[in-house]
């Protein structure tokens, strides 16, 4: 019997090869079914023999979690059975058990190495926009001036080995002509980098564009997008990410790093049969890989795991939690040993604050939260509107031109302002920075005690210069530049995110928030300095004390804006906690992120990733969103009241010809089997694909099967053949005997819960034991869209 089944399966791939037909199936009614349990005993053999196509899914299809998980359990049982028989099998079972850990180790190593490479390359290319190292073209500005004796405590661009383009081309380091040359070179490099990035993406890997997180969320929820996590995507995304970041566009590398890590995970899965052959197991690996991505992006392994848990993953068993943690740590240590920033930290903007915060400061912190929430909500609306425009108008036809124009505008507008000229991570690093006395940044240009006149005369020298001080002219210049930078970043990020280059949102959002936070922080600081006798400062902020840390405000602003855009909560706080190291600042962080989330949620329920998922029409059943309507399963199921009745097979009443007619008349990918048309009592569910293959195979290879043969799904084939008729065809082996069925009165809230938690693709609906209809994942998504007054037809993959 199983041999027959194997034969059937063997020819499966050739039959349904037309992807469009399958996509069509997907858009229409029900998709492939809740089966595999009957077939499971044989699946292991099938897999071992490598029959192509068995147990795999077509592109743009949803996987069946129940089937995948029971496939894995079968595999496990088989290994356990063999383990008892021989020592070799015991060894193999041990290797199998540890292959998950080995895979995690490899993912951690590879992702850490790639992240380090990206950091170094982006750093070098970014510096190339400004000048060139005479010691060797491969040095960055910092490395070029590393051993230069003259540069201690001076501005870093005073190092003689490093030549700006103006010095190289017109020979003068300063003045109008030098400025123009530098300006032109900056813009040219930006154009070259962005052009290269978009051309590479377009030519080799269209999937490499964007941040990738919406698609990864969809893939983790069970959707299949072939090639999205493939070799080409990895290669091109890594290269173009470096180019895009270096071009100065308002985008970050953090989101795409998650995509890169997931590509690594997916590719490395091919080394292990266990993960290559099972879509559910592979998704566990991808969950861990997304934790790795955040771990290397922010140097926050625990935050990465929580990000994967909170934001990205759909099915996250505890085993995965533990493995993700391991992989995230390995990646963080790999990155640290590469040491891309030369500070033995994983990120540029690691920061340590030394001043405690005061309870009353919670008020400005909450203000930052409100700003973050408002900006997050507005950004999402504006960006979605712009992306929809790109999809629907002619704008979308010129992706290369769009990128080049935006890059040109960004470079032209960014160069004059010091804070937009530098890369966003450097900007964030500078804004987070807590000014010490030796700091040469303009933001730290405070009037030092002793030359500040009458007020400063009150200072005792014991304050060590760490006291709040009056802002000097540098700070005032910086303030204006920061305001302009804020406005610029806010606008340019809206049009940048969603272009056809790899683009992350974390860094631009954080930059906007950090600017706003620093501005508020400096304002508070000056207020406290000049008005320390005000009641609100009384008691904790006397003259000569250090009470306000503008860098902390910048950090909270960054967290608030990032929270407003992504709606992350715990993971955001933990990532920021790992950046600052110290429980001290968790309360302000929570205040800012909570406010930001509440404000943003009040203006629009969705985060940027959910909004993009919906914009692209991916079939994603949001696990966080509560279904609040009082509809019943009967309101959602197909067929609707006036539709033709459900196409069903009977267990023993149909001939081969009738079945073939039903297959060609409909495009559903599965059919329920009932006892008889009269009773409509449900027996099981059979997949279209299996049916087609089985009948074709029987017609060609099984004696006596003709159009008039009866198709039987019953347990016992009648021993005596039908009087005079041809021998019957038994299809019991391909029948799924345990389709999940609910009653027509089941509330939709429970139905949605069942779909989410069990990972179903479809569910049958019965009334008093009789089959009434069917509900698919897509029906549910459409219904939810309808209930939320959205366009239900947007939920198609297109």
């Amino acid at each position: 019997m199983w041999k027959f089944f194997k034969l059937l399966k063997g020819s499966s791939h050739s039959h349904i090869s037309n992807q469009n037909a399958y996509l069509n199936d997907l858009l229409k009614g029900y998709s492939n079914g809740f089966r595999g349990q009957v077939a499971s005993a044989g699946l292991l053999d099938l897999l071992d023999e490598g029959v192509p196509g068995v147990g795999t899914y077509e592109d743009f299809n949803t996987i069946d979690w129940v089937r995948e998980k029971s496939k894995d359990r079968d595999r496990h049982r088989e290994i356990n059975r063999q383990k008892k028989q021989s020592d070799l099998a015991l060894l193999l079972s041990l290797i199998d058990a540890f292959s998950g850990w080995l895979l995690m180790l490899l993912i951690g190593l590879l992702s850490g190495a790639l992240a380090g490479g990206i950091d170094i390359a982006a750093h070098w290319l970014t510096d190339l926009k400004e000048g060139f190292c005479m010691k060797g073209f491969w040095f960055t500005h910092e490395h070029c001036c590393w051993k230069s004796n003259e540069t201690t405590f001076q501005r870093r661009n005073k190092c003689p080995q490093w030549k700006s383009w103006a010095e190289l081309m017109v020979g003068v380091p300063e003045g109008a002509s030098a400025y123009v040359v530098n300006y032109l070179m900056y813009v040219s490099w930006a154009l070259i980098f962005s052009y290269l990035a978009v051309i590479l993406v377009r030519a080799f890997a269209p999937y490499a564009c964007g941040s990738g997180i919406p698609e990864i969320k969809t893939i983790l929820s069970g959707f299949i997008i072939r090639g999205y996590l493939g070799k080409w995507t990895l290669l091109i995304k890594t290269i173009t990410l470096v180019l895009a970041v270096s071009s100065g566009l308002s985008l970050g590398k953090e989101g795409p790093l998650v995509h890169v890590a997931c590509c690594c995970g997916n590719i490395l899965c091919h080394l292990f049969t266990k993960y290559r052959k099972n879509e559910a197991k592979r998704r566990e690996v991808l969950s861990a890989a997304s934790a790795v991505g955040v771990s290397v992006a922010f140097g926050a392994p625990i935050g990465g795991v929580l990000f994967s848990l909170e934001e990205v993953s759909y099915y996250f068993p505890l085993k995965t939690l533990w493995r993700s943690f391991f992989a995230a740590l390995v990646a963080a240590f790999t990155l640290r040993s590469i040491n891309p920033f030369g500070n033995s930290r994983l990120v540029l903007f690691y920061v340590e604050f030394h001043t405690p915060w005061h309870f009353l400061e919670l008020f400005p912190f909450v203000l930052l939260g409100i700003f973050g929430g408002l900006w997050g909500a507005l950004f999402i609306r504006a960006n979605i509107a712009w992306c929809r425009r790109r999809k629907t108008t002619r704008l979308g036809h010129y992706p290369v031109l769009e990128v080049v124009v935006v890059a040109l505008a960004t470079a032209v507008l960014a160069f004059p302002n010091e804070y937009t000229r530098m890369s966003s991570s450097e900007l964030i690093s500078e804004l987070f920075n807590d000014c010490s006395l030796l700091d040469s940044s303009k933001l730290c240009d405070y009037i030092s005690p002793g030359k500040g006149g009458e007020r400063a005369a009150n200072f005792s020298m014991t304050t060590n210069g760490l006291a709040d001080r009056a802002a000097g002219p540098g700070v005032y210049t910086a303030l204006w530049q920061l305001v302009l930078a804020l406005v610029f970043k806010m606008f340019i990020t809206v049009v940048t995110f969603g272009m056809k280059v790899p683009s992350g949102l974390f860094i631009p959002s954080m930059a906007v928030g950090a600017i706003a936070g620093r501005l508020l922080g400096i304002g508070m600081e000056q207020l406290a300095y000049y008005h320390h006798e005000w009641p609100m400062f009384k008691g904790w902020c006397s003259l000569g004390a250090k009470c306000i840390t503008p860098g902390l405000y910048a950090m909270l602003g960054a967290a608030a804006c990032l929270g407003g855009v992504t709606r992350m909560t715990v993971s955001l706080v933990v990532i920021m906690f790992e950046l600052t190291g110290g429980l001290e600042y968790i309360v302000p962080l929570m205040a800012a992120t909570m406010t930001s989330k509440w404000v943003a949620d009040a203006l629009g329920r969705e985060g940027i990733y959910e909004a993009h998922i919906r914009l692209n029409g991916y079939p994603f059943l949001e696990p966080k969103e509560e279904f609040e309507q009082k509809t019943l399963a009967m309101d959602v199921m197909r067929p609707r009241r006036n539709d033709p009745p459900l196409s069903v097979l009977t267990q023993d009443g149909m001939t081969v010809e009738e079945v073939e007619g039903m297959i060609s008349d409909t495009s559903y990918s599965g059919f329920p089997v009932v006892v008889s048309h009269q009773s409509q009592r449900l027996v099981g569910f059979v997949l279209r694909r299996d049916l087609v293959i089985s009948i074709d195979n029987a017609r060609c290879c099984q004696d006596g099967i003709v159009g008039a043969s009866r198709v039987l799904f019953t347990e016992h084939t009648p021993s005596h053949p039908y009087q005079g008729g041809p021998p019957p065809l038994s299809l019991r082996p391909i029948l799924d005997l345990s389709p999940l069925a609910i009653t027509d009165h089941t509330p939709m809230e429970i139905t949605v819960d069942i779909f989410r938690k069990l990972g179903l693709r479809q569910c049958l609906v019965t009334q008093n034991g009789c089959l009434l209809g069917i509900i698919t994942k897509k029906d549910i998504l459409k219904h939810m869209a309808q209930m939320a007054n959205r366009d239900p037809d947007s939920i198609l993959f297109n």
Copy 2:
């Protein structure tokens, strides 16, 4: 109609008041059903009017997650509906939305305060065993000597205000008689404290004993144990915990703190209708409360949340994650502002290491992991065997005597050894400690450079005394004492855990591991000092360098032993990470805990909490354990092959008398309703309790209902009454129209998954649309026990 239903419900409480009858129901077949959906429209009103007993469960019953969740959704919908109508309702809806956060704040504050109080009181009572402060009896030893000028850098027991009992009673501070007096006083106080603890537990709150974590896990999975989290338990557990810890018994306060925090959570739930009335919502709060417990126990808020997620919780939505985090932080900050240890840390054994570890050290770290795993597995076996002995033999009849005898043995054996005399947390703190030059502990009695002779002469003075040094006589004495302490702790903990006093396992396990770790650490250190030319030390450990940190070994040993006993992974690493602060030591931690878990799992799958759950027969469906057998639903369902058929009701064919007969003949707590006995097509499910109440009510209050009246569950009551017969009784309102049903061929692995994920209590089994049987949670637990060759009858609550 609803009014009628309300009337029915109103009298519900009086009918089923006999708890034993209900317990009986529980032990027999199926429990209350998957309903509430039909009744939900009226539930809100019912709840508002406060009809007693509606929507609540009997003691020792399992809750229905589906029903509770849809009840909450109904409430939410109702609030949303009213919100649009008036401003007051809008305000109320806002209050409702924020009540969760307010509740978390309160739990954090209360638990933090209680934990602080427990710490202070336990400290004071522990010191009382040694002596007495002349400045005032309420001072601990440390506070007594706080301002004493003479005690800088001397041993702390040299402070004149603090008198040992010998000084007070016989007037001499040292000598044989003083030793005897101190010994006697130590033992007497230990006996008094432990006697008080056990007497209080026995008299006022039997539920206050043990660690509470197994029971909390069971409660969180949906079981009801009335009073387990009540006021009395909280009060008595807090007091007796202090007494038990102070008595010197080998137990910790960390586990019981989780129980205390959960009691706080449960009691504070009563302030908010939303949580008081809904068992599922309340469990979300309890999940957060258990995070709070660990947060205050270890000063690790993130670790606490992960502990709740990994170890304790059953249903943990993301919203809970975020709230748990908030509550854990509030509690940590409350505890910090109480500052019970006077070091502005949350725990006694916070530690900072300054020496990096070397790659080759992973080998001894893995050794510690193996030790931890072995000890964990052996401890679980020994402890379970001992507890089973206590349950089955006469030993269990003398709980007070048992506690007193164990306390006597502990005190008598502990006093002579300095390391067992001190409290376990102090011991751990001392073992974790990284010796500095000024340290006066015996463990830090190294031969300092300069007096160490020839070898030490090689030292340059730049090493600052931080180099590895030869152990002095103090260290050698300490080694022997530690070995004895290790053996003592290992044995005494086995008999202590499970006695009728509050007793946590975290601290004793950590103490065992810390001793073993420190021993290995000192061994390694001396090896490195005397044999630094060995190949394994070459290159990283030259003479005069600091290469081995024995304190780190102690910490890893503690983590490994705790991991072996509880099988925690991520949360354990994060808790330890929060204790040490610094990603540097996460890799050794992971190596030790991973090894420990693997070794322990190889020797026995269950952690101590699962083992105790099984020992006590709680109905707990382990979410981590994979069900590996290939059985089908038909093998598990009732009735079995030779049993009498299932008791079912028909939708219109039975009279009131027949139904009453069925109720009195059986003890099931619910009945499926079918179309007819012939067809067996499933219509719905009705609860015994509802049926009894409805019929009684109809018989007394509805005209014409007699024994011969027909009971109808159909949608339409026939308009014309039955010819000549009495009017029918329609019970449609109490019928659950959406019971979940699976087919008889559904594999049990999927069935178990469905039960776990949806939180079901029972599930009907059909074949071809006809009802065949029923599977309850208890059937599944029994089946799993059978498959694992355990006694299936142990799964009863007893």
